[in-house]
């Protein structure tokens, strides 16, 4: 005991004072800006992110291979530092910090919490994924229902469950139930194995529990939990959707679809357009609810139809989400002033260059007074669309007179599906562009979720893309290659014949001579 006292007086702190811990220099330089000098998650960027940067003092980590409530292994920490966490502000550090630096940073991060002084945690044993099949995925869906995953993640897995608006993390900040259709943004990785691990370990610090005890209690089998992971994975595309600059409007002979639920939409390719927080003009918005929009386009030579779908957890305004808005308001007001105190509608803006055939589109953020943009502006309440002129974000003048633009919208289990239809030829070419087959026109998007405190300025924006109206393939495309092939083949034959004749002639003259 005396020995203990002696050592207590000469605590390790004094050692720290004289000899800086390994990893501190790299941590202070690269990590502290978000996670704070003392690891409390209170760095400078804290108020500009939701969820907040991780607070290391609690020793609570989302992405682990260990059981619920246990500490992560060093390998778990290493993986997050190396690869980063998709869907969050945490990047991978492999290229910025050396191997040794990252090792040292792990040791330093662990020193922020009292818990890491005990024995090293061990990863839970997991088997390998059983073979996936359509039946397996169907079974996974059944188990998803049995385990009531939909309570938070929603019937279709879009994070719109009845409990979703009430969710908070261990720091009392609002947290969205994951949209299971965007596996490339899963914090712990998108593979079936990684999803299965999250089910076994839970995501500590969040409302996501561990399902290990459910297997131990024989309520489901281990294989059934794998099936859930396979079902969840099947909701997202196999590869992260590529971002392509040109959206092709499919040419149809049968007239454009009648609404967003029309099955003929299956013929048009879907393009993924990422949207990010509007952090350019005041008030900026660092916590957008919508992360991407899927766009399809079709035209029949006289009309253009656009179908836009995106995950939105609420059909705003929805009283169930008042509590959520209150929390977001509290969390994000420090940035550029208070958020709206009541929920506005959900908004969608589709923006065009006002005149086709111009190389220079207007300012991508809603146009400017010098160069206005043409805008289609849809709101969920009342469910209406207006076409008009944008002279900056939130600066919108509706077109006078009869609108050429029609729309149909439906909200299906956490997804908005909106179709716009307009004649290709504009009635007012000074303000609205005509769409011309075989030509591309600049197009950009704006989305806002009213329940998340978003409005016509605080929302998610995209860069300029282009919409190209397909043309029927001209006959010459098939005729010209045929002709050139014939010509070349003929020419080749001729050359060969000539050479052979000459050869024979010279042989003959040789033998004669």
């Amino acid at each position: 005991m005396l020995v203990c006292l002696l050592f207590a007086i000469r605590s390790p702190q004094s050692a720290i004072l004289t000899q800086e811990p390994r990893g501190k220099a790299a941590y202070d330089k690269w990590c502290a800006g978000c996670h704070g000098d003392t690891g409390a998650g209170d760095g400078y960027a804290q108020a500009f992110m939701l969820p907040r940067p991780r607070d290391f003092t609690k020793g609570v980590y989302q992405i682990r291979t260990t059981a619920s409530g246990e500490l992560p292994t060093d390998a778990d920490l290493r993986r997050v530092i190396d690869e980063g966490m998709p869907g969050t502000a945490m990047p991978g550090w492999r290229e910025r910090l050396t191997d040794a630096q990252r090792e040292d940073v792990i040791a330093y991060i662990k020193s922020f919490s009292q818990f890491f002084t005990g024995p090293a945690p061990t990863a839970i044993e997991v088997g390998t994924a059983p073979r996936a099949s359509d039946e397996a995925i169907a079974e996974g869906r059944q188990v998803y229902e049995k385990l009531e995953c939909f309570k938070c993640h929603g019937q279709d897995g879009r994070g719109d469950g009845t409990s979703a608006p009430t969710l908070t993390d261990d720091w009392d900040q609002p947290i969205f139930a994951a949209d299971l259709h965007g596996s490339w943004r899963f914090n712990g990785g998108s593979s079936v194995e990684e999803i299965y691990r999250r089910l076994r370990t839970g995501l500590d610090g969040t409302p996501m529990p561990s399902f290990s005890d459910v297997i131990d209690s024989k309520i489901i089998t281990d294989e059934q939990l794998w099936r859930v992971a396979q079902y969840v994975r099947s909701l997202s595309p196999e590869e992260p959707p590529p971002v392509r600059e040109v959206i092709r409007a499919h040419l149809t002979e049968e007239g454009v679809p009648s609404g967003p639920a029309d099955t003929t939409w299956a013929r048009a390719e879907a393009y993924y357009i990422p949207v990010v927080g509007q952090i350019i003009v005041k008030p900026r918005w660092f916590s957008p609810a919508v992360e991407g929009v899927w766009v399809q386009a079709m035209h029949d030579g006289s009309r253009l139809a656009l179908r836009l779908t995106w995950t939105d957890r609420s059909r705003s305004p929805d009283p169930a989400w008042d509590e959520w808005l209150g929390r977001v308001r509290q969390a994000m007001t420090d940035v550029d002033g208070p958020l709206p105190s009541s929920q506005g509608p959900d908004l969608l803006g589709v923006q065009f260059s006002p005149r086709s055939g111009e190389a220079e589109p207007p300012f991508f953020l809603g146009g400017s007074t010098r160069r206005p943009a043409h805008l289609w502006r849809w709101s969920s309440a009342p469910d209406a669309v207006t076409s008009g002129t944008g002279t900056g974000l939130g600066q919108f003048t509706a077109d006078a007179g009869a609108s050429q633009l029609t729309h149909a919208a439906q909200f299906v289990n956490g997804e908005w599906q909106v179709q716009f239809t307009r004649a290709l030829v504009s009635a007012d070419t000074a303000r609205a562009p005509s769409f011309v087959a075989g030509r591309a026109l600049p197009i950009a998007f704006f989305v806002a979720d009213g329940s998340n405190g978003e409005d016509s300025v605080r929302g998610a924006v995209s860069a300029w893309y282009a919409v190209y109206l397909d043309v029927a393939t001209p006959t010459r495309v098939y005729v010209a290659p045929g002709l050139t092939m014939l010509l070349t083949a003929g020419l080749g034959l001729m050359l060969v014949r000539q050479a052979q004749r000459r050869e024979r002639n010279s042989e003959r003259s040789n033998s004669e001579g």
Partner: protein
């Protein structure tokens, strides 16, 4: 072995080999050079590759035809393929493959192509000699970062760090590589300060101008309609911008270009 040696010494196969090597060099080799100097690289456009290949072909033809014997030997395999009875199958293959290739190229040329509208943009637009910052005229030419001669550098770095993490991080990223968590939503993508080609080549006054005036403050050739860079004079004071510039150089490890270098170098 000797067979291979005979092939390599044959002018026809030499020419073929040379052209293949040239193609590989143009298509892939050139793109590997900039990273060696720490610069970003991009694939060489097909049109440029085609041009270079034509030049290479002309060069090769001039070389083989400059010597009578060489020219004759060069033509031998071509001639043999056309007339020899035992090369019948090769002849047939060439007669089928070449027209097919030509047909495909024609198809590729005539089919309707989907292209995004072209937007022009200059990477380093010329700065104005003076700007108006919140109503105050600031002479940019010859301007140095005033904070480097005032107050404590450590404090300026800390102020700059706070401003960077609260305002710049979402796009330019905490690794300073232009890959913040919102960067993927913008086009052009946010600048990487880690690159040798960005702030390392600029004076602090140029950076001040770009920060203060943002995308909308770019001159016409800079394509103001697509840069997402905000107009920071709406958010930050003059000193705050200078502080964040100090932080950028400190954190990235680059040195700002000085006015002596700029005028002395003369070529910019």
């Amino acid at each position: 072995m000797s067979r291979v040696g005979a092939w390599v010494r044959h002018p026809f196969w030499q020419a073929v080999l040379l052209l293949i090597l040239a193609y590989l060099l143009f298509k892939f080799g050139i793109a590997l050079l900039p990273p060696l100097l720490g610069m970003h690289s991009a694939p060489v456009p097909t049109s440029v590759v085609v041009q270079y290949m034509l030049i290479a072909l002309v060069g090769v033809l001039i070389h083989v035809s400059s010597d009578e014997t060489r020219w004759r030997r060069f033509k031998e395999p071509i001639h043999d393929t056309m007339v020899d009875a035992d090369k019948r199958w090769v002849r047939l293959a060439v007669l089928i493959l070449v027209p097919l290739l030509i047909g495909w190229v024609t198809y590729d040329q005539t089919r309707p192509k989907v292209e995004a509208p072209i937007t022009l943009r200059s990477i380093h637009p010329a700065p104005p000699s003076q700007i108006t910052f919140r109503g105050k005229t600031i002479q940019l030419t010859g301007l140095e970062n005033p904070l480097r001669h005032r107050g404590s550098l450590t404090e300026h770095i800390e102020t700059g760090k706070r401003i960077y993490y609260q305002n710049c991080l979402a796009c330019h990223g905490d690794r300073l590589d232009g890959q913040g968590h919102f960067a993927h939503g913008f086009s052009p993508t946010p600048l990487s300060f880690a690159d040798q080609g960005t702030i390392a080549q600029l004076t602090e006054s140029f950076v001040f101008w770009r920060v203060a005036k943002g995308g909308p403050g770019l001159p016409r050739e800079g394509a103001p309609w697509s840069s997402a860079m905000p107009v920071w004079e709406d958010y930050l004071t003059e000193d705050e911008i200078w502080a964040v510039i100090i932080y950028l150089y400190e954190q990235s490890g680059w040195k700002p270009r000085t006015w002596e270098e700029s005028t002395g170098g003369g070529e910019h």
